[in-house]
């Protein structure tokens, strides 16, 4: 009962690939936006804040539909990207990754922003008086100190991506081998007669992956926290 059919295996692999890509590509912009929201003073900051956190409160179907409008074949951005850069999102696994990235983005930004907010800025001043310019201060002081927040945000965003269903299925549909992620596959199996066993197998895998992610985040957080003296 524990061996997976090729179709199930494809769904698991696809989900992992989509989640890893979604998390890694959203990390640099997430860090940038978190810095901007925590430290920046500019007009329209609350609007940016609203846009970033919107996917957290909108129904995922709405987010997925907006993505379809924007990044579909004939969407505003989708047409431009396809014609000029050859990047196509619609009904591809890349689209699933985009949907997961957008859905996980608020969680990522929120975790990083909280840790930036809690930094003692006096430490950055101290680094400045010791001869470090702002870029070096960021790399040698700010970044190491917000590392726990970055890790927590990354894990959260990864877990969110593994579980993303509504926006993905709305945006890129449910194509086995291309856009059928783990949750979509489970949903599909529950809709067909005799699919219960497959659904349960995939559910066990989903629990295992999510649990490992949580444990990993605990472990990394502990090690990093000890390194920067938070817990000792």
């Amino acid at each position: 009962m524990l061996t997976l059919t090729p179709e199930e295996q494809a769904a698991v692999e696809l989900s992992l690939r989509v989640s890893v890509w979604a998390t890694l590509t959203s990390l640099p912009p997430g860090l940038f936006v978190a810095m901007l929201l925590s430290r920046g003073k500019f007009w329209g900051k609350s609007i940016l804040n609203g846009i970033v956190f919107l996917p957290l409160v909108l129904p995922p179907v709405v987010t997925g539909y907006l993505l379809l409008v924007l990044f579909g074949r004939r969407g505003l951005l989708g047409a431009f990207l396809a014609d000029n850069l050859g990047i196509v999102f619609a009904f591809r696994w890349t689209g699933a990754a985009l949907a997961c990235a957008v859905m996980g983005f608020p969680l990522l930004v929120r975790a990083i922003k909280l840790s930036i907010d809690s930094i003692d800025r006096g430490l950055e001043d101290a680094a400045g008086t010791l001869g470090a310019n702002s870029a070096w201060v960021f790399v040698t002081v700010t970044l190491p100190l917000i590392l726990p927040g970055i890790i927590a945000g990354t894990i959260l965003s990864f877990a969110r991506a593994m579980g993303e269903f509504g926006a993905t299925i709305t945006f890129v549909s449910n194509i086995p081998g291309e856009t059928q992620t783990l949750p979509s596959a489970i949903y599909t199996f529950t809709q067909v007669p005799g699919g219960d066993l497959a659904a349960i197998r995939l559910t066990v895998i989903a629990i295992a992956v999510s649990m490992s992610a949580l444990l990993a985040s605990e472990a990394i957080g502990y090690v990093v926290g000890r390194r920067i003296g938070v817990e000792g």
């Binding site: 003692d120 006096g122 430490l123 001043d125 101290a126 680094a127 400045g128 008086t129 010791l130 001869g131 470090a132 310019n133 070096w136 040698t140 002081v141 190491p144 100190l145 390194r227 920067i228 003296g229 938070v230 000792g232």
Partner: protein, 377 residues
């Protein structure tokens, strides 16, 4: 030499300070809220002042009129913060080498080993800041600032967050700092004993203004400065020389004001060593006749030179004792019953127990003789 002329508004607080100092250890002295910390933050480059001109050994680092503002990382002004501000994610060694790493090789001075030895932090190198005591943290912070090869070292109340025992642990290191590194220091403090012990030049501040500046002994002997400092601790700072030790009673005789002063034994110092003595005004009694049958050991002859303003029932007086000034605090009633006025000859009675270990410090920064040493307190 440092020249400072600053005008800055912080909310409702108006800082307008100006001073020039060639002192080796310049103390910015005043009560909390007098603007000392804002002033050093401006010198260090942490605050962008409304209007200022600051130069260091002739090099202008801030001149708002000509749009000069050297950013803090290029200022080469070391900063020791009240709370240390060590990087928690780095070891002590990495903290110490942080500024060293950013300093071009040609500008570096002092050996790592030498500064470690000067501050006594060699045994801490592999630890993390989280496990250090307050005193150890401050010593590491001082070492870190020095290893960045500063032209000026700013110290913002480095002892304020420490208890008395930790203060006593650090003070001897601070005393040696200038002599061994030759980096001029601006030392912010509201503590009279600290300033009396460390500073060569005193800048007294109140409400964002400089009200007095000069050599420490001169400024401390001014009656008009007392209200701006800490009246309980106010008193004269004098230079004395060790005459002899009395083994039987565990005392040391100092020559001072053409007389002698007995203090608890100063261990490890040969006669001839110069020391600095801080005599609190409240530890001095006056008598118009030579006192007899008194338990106090120290009686100095002098002449009243100035009466300070009356403050409640008390007032402060300045005496001239063989060319050096001593302050005394008396009640208005005593002043009147003894008919004290400028010119009255008096005997100043100073209680031996009035000297705690804090008020005795080495005078090596002021003495020119080569044979002076610091006193471990």
């Amino acid at each position: 030499m440092i020249e400072v002329d600053v005008q800055h508004r912080l909310g409702s607080f108006d800082l307008k300070a100006q001073f020039v100092s060639e002192g080796r250890v310049t103390a910015l002295f005043g009560r909390s809220g007098s603007g000392k910390t804002s002033l050093v933050s401006i010198i260090g480059g942490l605050i962008h002042p409304n209007r200022a001109r600051i130069s260091l050994d002739g090099e202008v680092i801030v001149d708002t009129e000509h749009n000069v503002f050297v950013p803090m990382h290029r200022r080469r002004v070391g900063y020791v913060f009240q709370e240390g501000r060590l990087f928690p994610h780095l070891t002590v060694r990495q903290n110490l080498l942080y500024g060293w790493w950013f300093t071009p090789a040609a500008q570096r001075f002092g050996q790592f080993a030498q500064i470690i030895a000067l501050l006594g932090i060699g045994h801490l190198l592999d630890r993390r800041p989280g496990s250090l005591s307050g005193g150890e943290k401050q010593r590491v912070a001082i070492g870190r600032a020095l290893l960045a090869a500063p032209r000026l070292l700013l110290m913002d109340e480095p002892l304020a967050s420490l208890d008395e025992a930790r203060k006593a642990e650090i003070l001897p290191y601070l005393e040696r700092l200038y002599d061994e590194t030759k980096v001029p220091i601006i030392y912010v403090s509201h503590s009279v004993p600290e300033v009396a012990r460390l500073a060569t030049t005193l800048v007294v501040m109140t409400e964002g203004r400089v009200v007095a500046i000069g050599p420490t002994a001169d400024v401390m002997a001014r009656l008009d400065v007392i209200p701006f400092s800490n009246p309980v601790e106010a008193g004269a700072v004098l230079e004395a020389e060790i005459l002899k030790h009395d083994e039987r009673f565990g005392l040391t005789a100092l020559s001072l004001c053409e007389g002698q002063l007995w203090v608890p034994r100063l261990n490890g110092h040969v006669p001839g060593t110069k020391v600095r003595v801080h005599i609190r005004a409240s530890d001095v009694m006056l008598s118009t006749r030579a006192p007899e049958g008194l338990s106090a050991l120290n009686v100095l002859r002098g002449v009243v030179t100035e009466l300070g303003p009356r403050c409640g029932p008390i007032l402060d007086l300045r005496l001239d004792c063989g060319g050096q000034a001593i302050l005394a605090r008396l009640t208005q009633r005593s002043v009147e019953s003894l008919k004290l006025a400028p010119g009255t000859p008096v005997y100043a009675v100073i209680k031996t127990v009035g000297f705690d270990r804090q008020t005795l410090g080495a005078a090596s920064r002021q003495a020119n003789g080569a044979d002076t040493t610091a006193i471990p307190i």
